[in-house]
Symmetry: C2
Subunit: 348 residues, 2 copies
């Protein structure tokens, strides 16, 4: 039986830069002719120690020549804590509102010398995710949405996190809370529809997973707006898909509704198109209101009424984080941060 020669490619051991040893601060010190402590003072920009300009320059030049950059983890091991602020990465598309909030937050935390990383924990939830985050030893953790429990907060704090801040519907024991009350979004949409004389109100609930932390409180808010009145609320599951919307529109008149809160502007656009294709007149037969105040709502005909949502400023949140990191023993703060106001246009 003949042998087949299989050539296994050699890994070039010396030629590739990746195989060369990673330069250390000791290498920089040697090349610059200074102590390792001096290298550390210069490269970490320590203002406590005075170092002459020529020495500073020599250290920077040596670091550049060797391609040396400080090692954040080693530095944080020495310091006993990191400057790492960790956030779960969003797993759903983010709109302009959230994107701007995150940019502002990263910028503001960066100015306070924190490094923000968004950690993708697809598939991990709640306290299990907290354990994975804890492995990175963040000094602070910001958790949007629900899911983290008191157990998860304890795991994070025991692993050295000085501040845990939740951004969600409820506060969690041991953590600072920025309460984002999405009930308020549904509540003010419901109030608006009631004031416009509507009494048989549908509420769209997206079928897509991951949106429950927003959709369920919004539904609850509409219900609360109608508590003790003669109005009735019907919840309607809808997938973000043309055919599903057409099916719902086809049985619309049988549902006998005179208004609908459509979860957000995109679902409102989807449903409104399907209703118009069925000949349902908007707002005469059915009033429609969305949420998020996207540009697209103003482009629809009739122009879409919506709930304008105000998120907290990234700068305020950055300051809360910094305050909490400096004083980890302080009692958790709770702030209501979500603003919701109706923008009345032509669809309601």
């Amino acid at each position: 039986m003949p042998y087949v020669m299989v050539q296994i490619p050699n890994t070039p051991a010396l030629a590739s830069p990746a195989a060369r040893p990673v330069p250390t601060s000791a290498d920089v010190a040697r090349l610059a002719g200074v102590s390792r402590a001096t290298v550390s003072y210069v490269l970490n920009n320590t203002s406590a120690v005075r170092i002459s300009e020529p020495t500073r320059r020599r250290v920077h030049e040596a670091a550049k020549e060797l391609g040396y950059v400080p090692h954040a983890a080693a530095r944080s091991l020495r310091a006993g804590h990191s400057r790492l602020v960790l956030m779960p990465a969003p797993t759903i598309p983010v709109g302009p509102l959230y994107s701007q909030f995150i940019n502002e937050l990263q910028w503001a935390l960066g100015r306070l010398d924190y490094t923000v990383v968004q950690y993708g924990t697809v598939g991990l939830q709640g306290d299990e995710a907290a354990r994975a985050w804890a492995e990175l030893r963040p000094v602070a953790v910001l958790v949007p949405g629900a899911g983290l429990g008191p157990q998860g907060v304890t795991v994070l704090k025991r692993s050295g996190a000085r501040a845990v801040v939740t951004l969600g519907p409820e506060s969690v024991e041991g953590a600072h809370a920025l309460l984002m009350d999405h009930e308020a979004v549904g509540f003010c949409a419901g109030r608006h529809l009631y004031d416009r004389g509507r009494r048989r109100v549908g509420v769209l609930v997206p079928e897509e997973g991951g949106l429950e932390p927003f959709s369920l409180p919004r539904l609850k808010g509409v219900r609360r707006a109608f508590d003790g009145t003669d109005a009735a609320v019907t919840d309607l599951l809808l997938a973000y898909d043309e055919q599903a919307a057409a099916r719902l529109a086809a049985r619309w008149r049988a549902l006998d509704l005179d208004a609908v809160f459509a979860y957000n502007d995109e679902y409102a656009m989807l449903l409104m198109r399907a209703l118009q294709d069925e000949g349902v007149r908007i707002p005469e037969e059915t009033a429609v209101i969305g949420a998020d105040d996207l540009v697209l709502g103003r482009l629809l005909r009739p122009r879409l009424s919506t709930v304008h949502i105000e998120l907290p400023s990234g700068r305020d949140l950055a300051e809360l984080v910094d305050r909490a990191v400096r004083d980890p023993g302080a009692a958790p703060e709770t702030h209501e941060v979500l603003g919701a106001t109706v923008v009345h246009r032509d669809s309601s």
Copy 2:
């Protein structure tokens, strides 16, 4: 002059969990009555060493009781490298296509035991950003968009990154490249309009910052489609804003165009509405085509023609990363990964 007493709040030194010392693997070993090495084998799930089920259980219980989680940075310092894959966090809203790609990538890298973090480097660009990333000592770096130069690649590799992969219009020396050729998007839109008999074609270029890596190649692609033909291309700056669109629509007939490639579906919706409000008939007077194949395009009347874009699969990219990490000396790979095809509907 009277003294003012200022009470400085005490940091409770013992009561708060954050002030208690962070539990170490030595604490776990002591409580479980095993060696530190055993703790490390059990918690890092090392399959090379056989450890009995009761011992495993004892270690897990001790870790749970103490609230101990392994320290990723310490582990990576010992191992000489991390399992951290770093990506810059997007600074613009991400659509469903990109969101799905990122989720898939994180999931696939997670299965290969990598931890993915998205690093927000707002304000830092190119090689300066690379230096900040290098401080986290990632084993691999994925860089979407343009901006990273050969210098940045060298900094990352010298600091221990075994793989640098760019996802963008051009390859960069020393890095693997997934070429995302957005010229192809404009090219096939241009070809389509030419085939439909259009010869005076406008191309929308968003005024919003940060979109140039997409908008400029798309414009170039349209130009290329018309090279050597009798057709002419006019580029039109437009902000994503109703008033700006109305102003552009008001001078539309003076521009004497018979078609427009609108950058993407959202800008197409914005422009189409403004043109319709001006009484411009679509597609008779002006054909409109977008890109991204969003659901909203099918909801417009006329239904919007678009360019459907195919991103690489997250799983393929994860495998490339893993291959590159295992063989850092291998020659950089280059793959064309962006697919673009026209979806012809009623607006063109």
